[in-house]
């Protein structure tokens, strides 16, 4: 039926699974990929700007850390990214694809903004912050609970569910923006309470973003401890690895899913609180600004380890700020930073392959003596 001559060649590449890879080697591969990515980006930057790429990277460094203020903005944005990543970690460790961080951040932000607007004059500026904190957390928790509930109850596809929740949150934000519009006709909320700074984070040690850093670093430790040393964290790992095992050893899988999504959403809600009260002092559909998606990659690459997440989110924000500096210095569009980040992500994601698999080139075949 099928007659054909046989090629006597092996395929060019042979791939096999790697056994145990020592940690240092794995990190060497990752860092190698990052460097390679920077080289590729250098070429792209060169082809667009015709500038010495090394100089451009110097510019990037300046953009991120050049002045005290810039450095603090970099830190603030890192904290924001990190906070969302911390929120995603429990969900993803449970293998729950929560790509709805964007929406959870937004509803948290709406809650904060609402407090700032409606509670003004009704209480002291210090008392309102804890209330805002709790409200944002609750709002995020509700946004996490809904997809979690339906996943636990009916096995609904969580990826798309959480995604749709993003868009519902975006429309909700638009609704409130229209409601709170200031000045009229601008289609923005403007800076809320710009005069008395009611509901704004107070400067700590003279630093405007000091409180952001404190809140997020506390969360880093909390989440690390929660995932690694508590019973609930243990349950999350078991459910994530095998629901059957979880059921077998008496874990209430549904409860764990719902509980974890509430926690996940609540922390993302806190990120919304940071964004509104601690950074932008306004609310708009771009308050989350795509970070909900970027952080998934951060959390994924860090294997949900909070401390490694600090590293990755710093790296991403550094690249973003640096690339934006290049853009403004050389009159390019801001979007060039997304392009560069995308390329770097490709390299880092791709590098995992070389950790998990061994690649061997075709071996020289002994010439067919048998013929």
């Amino acid at each position: 039926m099928m007659k054909q001559k046989h090629r006597k060649k092996e395929p060019l590449f042979r791939i096999s699974k790697n056994g145990f890879v020592p940690l240092y080697k794995a990190w060497a591969i990752r860092i190698g990929a990052l460097l390679l990515a920077l080289v590729v980006c250098a070429f792209i930057i060169y082809s667009i700007t015709k500038l010495n790429p090394l100089k451009v990277y110097g510019t990037m460094f300046q953009g991120a850390f050049g002045t005290n203020k810039r450095m603090w903005v970099t830190i603030r944005d890192t904290m924001m990214l990190l906070c969302i990543g911390l929120g995603l970690a429990p969900a993803f460790k449970m293998r729950f694809w929560n790509i709805g961080a964007e929406g959870q951040v937004l509803v948290g932000g709406i809650a904060s903004a609402a407090c700032m607007i409606y509670l003004r004059g009704k209480m002291s500026a210090t008392a309102v912050l804890p209330i805002m904190f709790v409200c944002s957390m609750l709002a995020g928790a509700i946004w996490g609970f809904i997809p979690g509930y339906f996943k636990a109850k009916y096995g609904t596809n969580e990826t798309l569910f959480t995604l749709m929740m993003n868009y519902i949150a975006i429309q909700l934000t638009s609704y409130f923006v229209a409601l709170w519009e200031n000045p009229y006709g601008s289609n923005t909320v403007g800076i809320i309470n710009s005069r008395d700074k009611f509901g704004w984070f107070p400067p700590i040690f003279g630093q405007m973003y000091g409180l952001n850093v404190i809140i997020v670093l506390v969360l880093v430790v909390l989440i690390y401890v929660y995932l690694n040393y508590t019973k609930q964290g243990f349950e999350i790992s078991v459910v994530g690895d095998s629901e059957n095992t979880a059921r077998y050893c008496g874990i209430d899988v549904k409860r764990v899913i719902i509980r974890t999504m509430i926690i996940s959403g609540a922390i993302c809600g806190i990120a919304g609180f940071l964004a509104v009260a601690g950074a932008g002092h306004t609310i708009s559909v771009s308050t989350a600004g795509g970070r909900g998606f970027t952080t998934i990659i951060v959390a994924w690459m860090a294997k949900f380890n909070s401390f490694v997440m600090v590293l990755f989110s710093s790296l991403l924000v550094f690249l973003e700020k640096g690339a934006m500096e290049i853009a403004s210095r050389y009159q390019l569009s801001d979007y060039v930073s997304n392009m560069i980040i995308g390329i770097i992500l490709f390299f880092i994601l791709g590098s995992e392959f070389f950790i998990n698999f061994k690649v061997r080139l075709r071996q020289r075949f002994t010439k067919d003596k048998s013929q």
């Binding site: 039926m1 099928m2 007659k3 054909q4 046989h6 090629r7 006597k8 060649k9 092996e10 395929p11 042979r14 096999s16 699974k17 790697n18 056994g19 145990f20 040393y229 508590t230 019973k231 609930q232 964290g233 243990f234 349950e235 790992s237 078991v238 690895d241 095998s242 059957n244 095992t245 059921r247 077998y248 050893c249 008496g250 874990i251 209430d252 067919d368 048998s370 013929q371």
Partner: protein, 518 residues
């Protein structure tokens, strides 16, 4: 001295010095094997001896790391299944390679691309021709998910024949069949042989080897031991070749001491998600200090029975599972309708070694202490886990059961199957259970580990634990268990005494030849 391959007229396939590694494990080490025209070759070996791996290199699933393959004297490279088919080699895998949502006919023409459009009429005709020639029955329009196991296997064979295979490899084809179905399969195999086809049957069942094969090749732990003509050997010699030393299945069987009713199951019924009855009207009693064996063809409800007792299934109304810890009538608990959490919280010391070790009993990505912790992580009021005790326990289990592991922190999926099973059994026993249930506890384990497991079960028995042992090897069941309950299609077809019952008797019960006794 080895002859030049191309000089041998009657050799269909010759494999020379084949080596294959998986990560750190050598699955096949310098194996030489020949398959001749028109013979039935049995490839014999224990589980994990590398039989399937070797054959997968002929079917194009794997590629050898070194060594050469000659087909009809010509050196060839089989880089994928497509190459295998064009060399007229076809393999029927143990886990069927069928697409569930497609029909039989669609599965048969998968990947062939003989016509642009799907021409079912032509396929039906050809399938009928093949069926008539060798004595199969296949409905080309039936969806695979509606088929029984033996129908699926038949479909696999037809599929391979449709592709013009004249060298057929069957991987453990009888594992899932009833004796009657096995007989039918053997008839078909003889028909194919008469038609000039070469057949390789992978198996570890000696009586089948003796019945069907012309020649036997034996593998042991990835090494080629040798080959003999079936007519010149006997089961004892083959066992010696297969396990390396002569083995008498001398399993200890202490007399039960003061047996008391421990688990009384009445009218147990279970349906799966699709509403198909998996267990019906199952009633039996397990006593303290005895091992109750459960026998049956695979998929007859053994798994569901143990899972139902452990609280993992919804029971049909009327089911009752009374449990008397240590046979104490006053502390009786009805486990029916209880979830695993309820059972755990009631303090019922129930230990369960499930069939799917890494998918249910353990977590592959966790290390040994964390896996030990699975069962007891929620003890105490503190919100934090206590890692000290499981760690200590892990060290004890590793020591007691001689578990080979690079360290405490190694994820257990990196360990061998035997070590994984020892961890699981070790953990379950360490909870001092009143009831110990094991499903296929020795599947895939080497002989030494198997004996360790038997020893552990007997220790529990002597302690007065009620032990339930679901097994597939009748010889073991008959030497280990005090009584044997036989399941057939989800019903109890009989309960026999392990000391007096004959193998044939159990075999008949498994296929329901005797009228129900329960």
């Amino acid at each position: 001295m080895r002859k030049e391959p191309y000089l041998e007229q009657n050799v269909a396939i010759r494999m020379v010095d084949i080596t294959k590694r998986f990560a750190d494990v050598v699955a096949n080490n310098k194996i030489n094997l020949e398959i001749r025209f028109g013979e039935i070759l049995a490839l014999l070996g224990e589980n994990g001896s590398g039989k399937t791996t070797l054959m997968n290199m002929l079917s194009g699933i794997y590629m050898q790391d070194s060594g050469a393959i000659y087909v009809k004297g010509e050196r060839i490279t089989i880089k994928d299944p497509h190459d295998a088919y064009s060399l007229h080699i076809g393999m029927i895998h143990q886990h069927f390679k069928l697409v569930e949502v497609l029909t039989a006919a669609e599965n048969i023409i998968l990947g062939l691309n003989e016509t642009r459009l799907i021409d079912l009429k032509n396929v039906r005709e050809q399938v009928k021709k093949i069926c008539d020639r060798y004595g199969f029955v296949v409905d080309p329009d039936k969806k695979v998910y509606d088929m029984s196991v033996s129908e699926k296997q038949t479909l696999e064979i037809v599929k391979v024949l449709y592709r013009g295979a004249d060298i057929l490899i069957l991987d453990e084809p009888t594992a899932v069949l009833t004796p009657q179905e096995t007989d039918k399969l053997f008839v078909v195999m003889r028909n194919m042989k008469a038609d000039g086809k070469s057949i390789v049957i992978i198996t570890h069942k000696l009586h089948e080897v003796m019945e069907i094969s012309d020649r036997v090749a034996v593998l042991r732990k990835g090494e080629y031991i040798g080959d003999v003509l079936t007519s010149q050997t006997d089961p004892q010699k083959l066992t010696d070749m297969m396990v390396g030393r002569s083995v008498t299945l001398n399993i200890d069987r202490p007399e039960p001491v003061n047996p008391k009713e421990s688990l009384v199951v009445k009218n147990l019924g279970v349906k799966d998600i699709n509403g198909v009855k998996k267990l019906e009207n199952v009633s039996f009693t397990a006593y303290t200090g005895e091992i109750l064996g459960i026998a049956g063809i695979s998929g007859c409800g053994q798994k569901e029975l143990l899972e139902a007792i452990a609280g993992l299934h919804k029971l049909e109304p009327g089911s009752s599972i009374m449990f008397y810890p240590r046979g104490n009538k006053e502390e009786g608990e009805d486990l029916a309708g209880q979830s695993p959490i309820d059972i755990k919280h009631k303090g019922v010391h129930l230990a369960f070694v499930p069939e799917d070790r890494l998918g249910m009993g353990l977590v592959g990505n966790m290390n040994i202490p964390d896996n030990i912790m699975l069962k007891c992580y929620d003890q105490g009021k503190s919100p934090f886990t206590n890692k000290k005790k499981p760690r200590q326990q892990a060290i004890e289990i590793i020591h007691d059961l001689e578990i080979v592991t690079p360290g405490l922190r190694t994820p257990i999926r990196r360990l061998s199957g035997g070590n994984v099973q020892k961890i699981l059994v070790g953990r379950e026993i360490s909870s001092d259970p009143y009831l110990l249930m094991t499903a296929y506890a020795v599947r895939g384990l080497d002989i030494n580990t198997s004996y360790t497991i038997y020893r552990l079960l007997n220790e529990q028995k002597k302690k007065g634990t009620a032990v339930i042992y679901v097994g597939e090897d009748l010889d073991v069941l008959l030497e280990l268990c005090d009584r044997i309950l036989v399941l057939c299609s989800g019903r109890v077809s009989g309960i026999v005494d392990g000391r007096t019952a004959k193998k044939e008797e159990v075999g008949l019960l498994m296929t329901h030849f005797k009228e129900e006794t329960a």
